[in-house]
Amino acid sequence: MKKTSKSLLTPRRQVIKGAAASLALGAVSMPLMGRYAQTQSAEPIKIGFQVHRTGIGAAYGRWYDRTTMAAVEKINNAGGINGRPVEIIAEDDGTDPKRGAEVVEKFATQHNADLAFGTLFSHVVYGSAPRAGELKIPYFVVSEGHHVASGALNRYTLQPGITDVKSQVQAMAPFVADNLGKKVTMVYPDFAFGHDHRDYFSAAIEAQGGQVIEKIAIPPTETSFTKYFPKIPRDTEVIYHVMVGPAVLTFVKEMGEFFGSSRPEIFGFIDSLEATDLSSPGLEFLEGTYFWEGNPRYAQANQSEYDKAYRAAVGVDANGASVSDSKDVSTYAHMFGCWETLHIVKAGMEASGYRGTGDRAKLIEAVESMSDMPHSHAHPQGAKRFNGKTHQVFGHQYITKVSNSKLDLVHTTSIEDTLYPDEVDYTKQSF
């Protein structure tokens, strides 16, 4: 009884001592706990980077890699995402749809990455996206394919950093019809990418009062093109060409030999000549012709401060080549998509208070709720408008003209030129 009363009635001095001790203990332990809490929150955000290191997409992959690493460095130097550093886990997909799917599985189930990102070639996107949807890992593609907006994929697949081929192609039609001519002959590779150009441009030029008078599909195995040029009708005002792969040099050279000094206007997609030096022998014939560019390769007279900073960060000179090797030409028209996508991931994670893989759905909802994105350091290519329903971004397109083996900007489309009606509403799909 006494004991109890003694313990109950603790003298004031003892209480004060005890309090002081516990405060001291607290003071010692708190930084430890704080440090612990910090290590928890400083766990890196792991981004699985599906990169085309080998296979047909290797040239693109090399530059997608450099752009990605530059963007991550910038984000990390500015404090990371929600105070956590970003870590890139790169896996080569060999530009192959089977390996692509395997790589996405590896990100989701072995690396436990927060999301997968970075795919360019459409067939790899198609092959991988079903697995991303099944494994419920956000899959941010940088592909410019119409696959996302067409509704073929799923709620976990988004393309917020680069515009799609449908909007790019249709936005070219007003410029072509007003400035180059209304009778167009199209030359394109006879596979899906070429067919997209054929279908979207044919419809778009008709809407401008023009017409595609001949469609010349070239089999992908072709190495010489001379037999196709006689098919170009004499009254052609504009040749629209989009060729992919090493054959483009032969294509341009042979086209030059066929037409000599009297040629129609020529308009092409830079996809053919990404990572290719415009002063390469055989490309002289392109002088005075026009190109679509997703982002102008050569620093323009009206270059924005954002492009300047982005170019410097990635290590690209004013001619669009690597600062360390002027022969190493970048894929400037596409690779900004990696930079912008990573900034959108950052914005989405910050808006949703993303903490870990359990918040993946919240991240997707946060990105879906995005709309206008101003021209800024995060969006150096230009302002964008994201459509949360179709998971596709829309933005300005650039038309440049070859003069003195450089590309000079002659026209910038509006974002409105690139819009088309929604074909899907992914927000209606459950997670």
Binding site: D96, E102, H123, Y126, E134, A192
Partner: protein, 320 residues
């Protein structure tokens, strides 16, 4: 006496393979998610390799065009599902039918040649098949391919996009192909196939219809490859022309060579080995195909009968 010993060997071999199937069944409860998914895919691709092995390993015919059979099954499955709204059950039948028709047709024509010419003719047919898929891009979406939606991949009430269902579907298919191969090589027909591989002239002189047996071998081989293609489309939700490209004709040859041509299990072991070789080596070098090539050269030099072939030669001579 010899008959009896043969029976015992066949039984031993059967038990061995049944044991493997049982082990694969149990593995699904142990494996981490990543390897669980990998093994499901490897089993499907092993069926492709087993199909290839029927022709190459047992009949001695080297085809360089098997991707067209794989693709026949893949599109036989995918196209009616996407364009005609078929469910997987009839689509599987159409995939098998596509495999039978394509392999019967190609086999009929290609078997007019032999040796190197057979290789070249099958390669050319496969290239024509690849270009045909691109040509009909409106339906096939060419190189880009198309997705078979998750909701449509439900067979007999099982959602095949779910890991457990996918694994077990792959295991069932794998077991069927493996047991069919074992049954085939122990049958009279299979023994004639092996006789053709060993000495075509003598088999012919013994009165067997060599051409018919070879043709049937092409059909069985092609149909098994088609079945694997159909399963890939169904289980992984994608069909595309890449799978009809020449590289995918070379893969089963490599898998079979690595694992052991003319062994029932070789194709599976080869596929497994190659997958992990690439998966592991690609994490530290982009030259992983060089490593795969080097491994193949070394195996050919030092284990010419492949992994399972050498295992059979040294340890278990009774293996099928």
């Amino acid at each position: 006496m010899i008959e009896k010993a043969g029976m015992t060997d066949a039984r031993k071999s059967l038990y061995f393979h049944l044991g493997l199937i049982g082990a694969l069944f149990i593995l699904q409860f142990i494996l981490p998610a990543y390897h669980h998914g990998n093994l499901a895919r490897i089993m499907v691709l092993a069926c492709y390799a087993m199909g290839y092995n029927i022709l190459f390993g047992y009949t001695g015919l080297l085809s360089l065009g098997h991707a067209m059979f794989f693709a026949a099954g893949m599109y036989g499955m995918g196209l009616p599902m996407v364009h005609l709204g078929w469910t997987p059950e009839p689509a599987l039948i159409s995939a098998i039918a596509a495999g039978v028709v394509v392999s019967a047709g190609i086999g009929f024509l290609a078997l007019r040649t032999s040796g190197v010419s057979f290789m070249i003719v099958t390669l050319m047919f496969a290239q024509a098949g690849f270009l045909t898929i691109l040509y009909f891009g409106e339906w096939t979406r060419g190189d880009e391919g198309f997705v078979i939606k998750q909701a449509e991949r439900v067979m007999a009430g099982f959602d095949l996009s779910q890991p457990v269902n996918r694994y077990n579907a792959a295991l069932i298919l794998f077991s069927i192909c493996l047991l069919l191969t074992i049954r085939l090589v122990h049958s009279r027909f299979g023994r004639v196939m092996i006789a053709i591989r060993e000495n075509e002239e003598r088999t012919h002189m013994l009165g067997y219809d060599v051409h018919f047996h070879k043709w049937m071998a092409v059909i069985m081989s092609g149909t098994m490859a088609a079945l694997a293609g159909a399963a890939y489309a169904l289980l992984f939700g994608y069909a595309g022309a890449t799978f009809a490209s020449v590289q995918y004709s070379i893969f089963p040859l490599l898998w079979v060579l690595l694992g052991g041509a003319g062994t029932a299990l070789g194709p599976f072991v080869g596929t497994l080995f190659m997958f992990y070789l690439i998966d592991l080596s690609s994490s530290f070098t982009t030259a992983y195909m060089l490593i795969a090539g080097l491994a193949l050269v070394l195996l050919t030099l030092f284990l010419p009968q492949g992994l399972v072939g050498e295992f059979r030669r040294k340890v278990v001579p009774w293996l099928s």
